[in-house]
């Protein structure tokens, strides 16, 4: 029935097409700029950025200090900045402390260092349980933490965006910064995984 027809009835693909065409027609958007944004987040901004930050922090004690004191500036030193990166904070995993990042309210995520969030980070399962059962969530990822390790969950409820500095794995003393950056995973920088040393 036509009186039930509203914008939600159509599939998202048709709705996005209509919206893009309408805004283009009104001169409010430039599809070329849309393409540029898509390309930026699909190919250029992603967890490789964060991995470079972590590898530098592992190999350069002065940089690690700066990163912990003011992550926004330290990350900008490597050329990473932009939306959702205006107030970055780095939290460091140690033998005694394990940090885990979530946004229970929506899906806030440090875009300039990790790119756009994966589906699991945006899932209701993660958003609901990461605060009430963080150790259970870590087990979903195959990570079991000893009781004596303190779990710190960071709920990104304001404008601060968190980057976890994972522990540098043993057996990596001879690896270069670039080699180290290659083993740092996105999941380890959200706090749901540890970084593993490459098998010899």
């Amino acid at each position: 029935m036509s009186d039930h027809h509203n914008t939600d009835d159509s599939g998202p693909a048709a709705r996005v097409k209509a919206l893009e065409a309408l805004l283009t027609e009104k001169g409010l958007i430039d599809p070329g700029a849309i393409d540029a944004i898509v390309d930026t987040y699909e190919t250029r901004v992603g967890p490789r950025n964060g991995a470079r930050v972590v590898a530098k922090a592992w190999t350069d004690p002065a940089y690690r200090k700066r990163l912990i004191a003011d992550a926004t500036s330290a990350v900008a030193e490597l050329g990473f900045a932009g939306p959702e990166g205006g107030h970055l904070v780095a939290v460091e995993n140690t033998e005694r402390v394990h940090n885990l990042v979530v946004c229970t309210l929506c899906s806030c995520y440090p875009w300039p260092v990790l790119g756009l969030p994966p589906v699991w980070y945006k899932s209701f399962a993660y958003r609901s349980r990461a605060v009430s059962d963080p150790r259970g969530v870590l087990e979903d990822f195959g990570l079991e933490l000893p009781r004596e390790v303190e779990v710190r969950v960071w709920d990104s409820s304001a404008e601060i965006r968190y980057l976890v500095i994972p522990q540098r794995p043993k057996g990596t003393a001879r690896m270069s910064e670039d080699e180290l950056a290659a083993i740092v995973t996105r999941d380890s920088m959200v706090g749901v995984a540890k970084v593993e040393a490459p098998r010899a």
Partner: protein, 232 residues
């Protein structure tokens, strides 16, 4: 959503692409332009997502929620009409139209930090505070699971625009925002999942917090003591 039960385990997708469909790509990029064109601030955008009817919210994926929010805001701000949107959805899209589009314009994004005279911080690091039991009708960034709970100021992040008013264009009300540490047991009680010593750090604006007098013991500690000594 913090603390809700029943969503099952977290499932991780192997080799996950950044976008799962072409419309997700376009929607993601469109939103940043559209909210600028409509002079929408980030808090207002978040509130528009929260206003999606709950059943629909839960049935939608992330970018569908963005799309629904941006459609709502563009119509509410008079940038487009619902009829125009519907007409476009029914009509075939002319690719020429998109290819020949003119450059983007629109007002500058809303500044998210105030300029002058930052207000003084009411709370110092280490101060005991309670998250107020607030249940506002509009937008808020105080998670439901922390309301009424006691914690400790861990860090002062500085001054930020207050989302509860900013979302409704009722002023930026700049104020300090703090990282507040809450013990897992204070938030979730004596559950097997809440380990004593584990903490949740929540970023909370000053208006969400009230002081706890320094001579009064935290509620949780009092209760625990009463329990152990058998008194009540």
């Amino acid at each position: 959503m913090g603390g809700m039960d029943g969503f099952g385990p977290v499932v991780r997708e192997q080799n996950e692409p950044v976008f799962h469909a072409d419309w997700e790509r376009r929607a993601y990029a469109l939103v940043s332009f559209a909210i600028r064109a409509a002079n929408v601030n980030i808090d207002e955008f978040r509130h528009a997502i929260e206003r999606i009817p709950p059943a629909r919210y839960l049935a939608s994926n992330y970018y569908e929620r963005w799309l629904a929010a941006v459609e709502t805001l563009l119509v509410e701000h008079g940038v487009v009409t619902r009829e125009e949107l519907l007409a476009k959805q029914d009509a075939a899209i002319d690719p020429e139209l998109i290819a020949n589009a003119i450059a983007a314009r629109g007002p500058a994004p809303v500044k998210d930090k105030p300029g002058s005279k930052p207000p003084r911080a009411r709370f110092a690091k280490g101060a005991r505070v309670r998250a107020r039991n607030l249940n506002p009708a509009g937008h808020t960034r105080i998670p439901r699971y922390v309301r009424g709970k006691s914690g400790v100021i861990a860090r002062d992040w500085g001054v930020f625009v207050f989302p509860d008013t900013n979302a409704h264009h009722a002023g930026t009300k700049p104020q300090h925002c703090y990282s507040v540490a809450f013990d897992a047991r204070e938030l979730w009680g004596k559950s097997t999942k809440a380990h004593s010593g584990d903490r949740v750090y929540i970023d909370l604006w000053e208006d969400y917090l009230e002081p706890i007098a320094s001579n009064s013991k935290p509620k949780a500690a009092k209760r625990a003591k009463a329990h152990h000594t058998g008194r009540y």
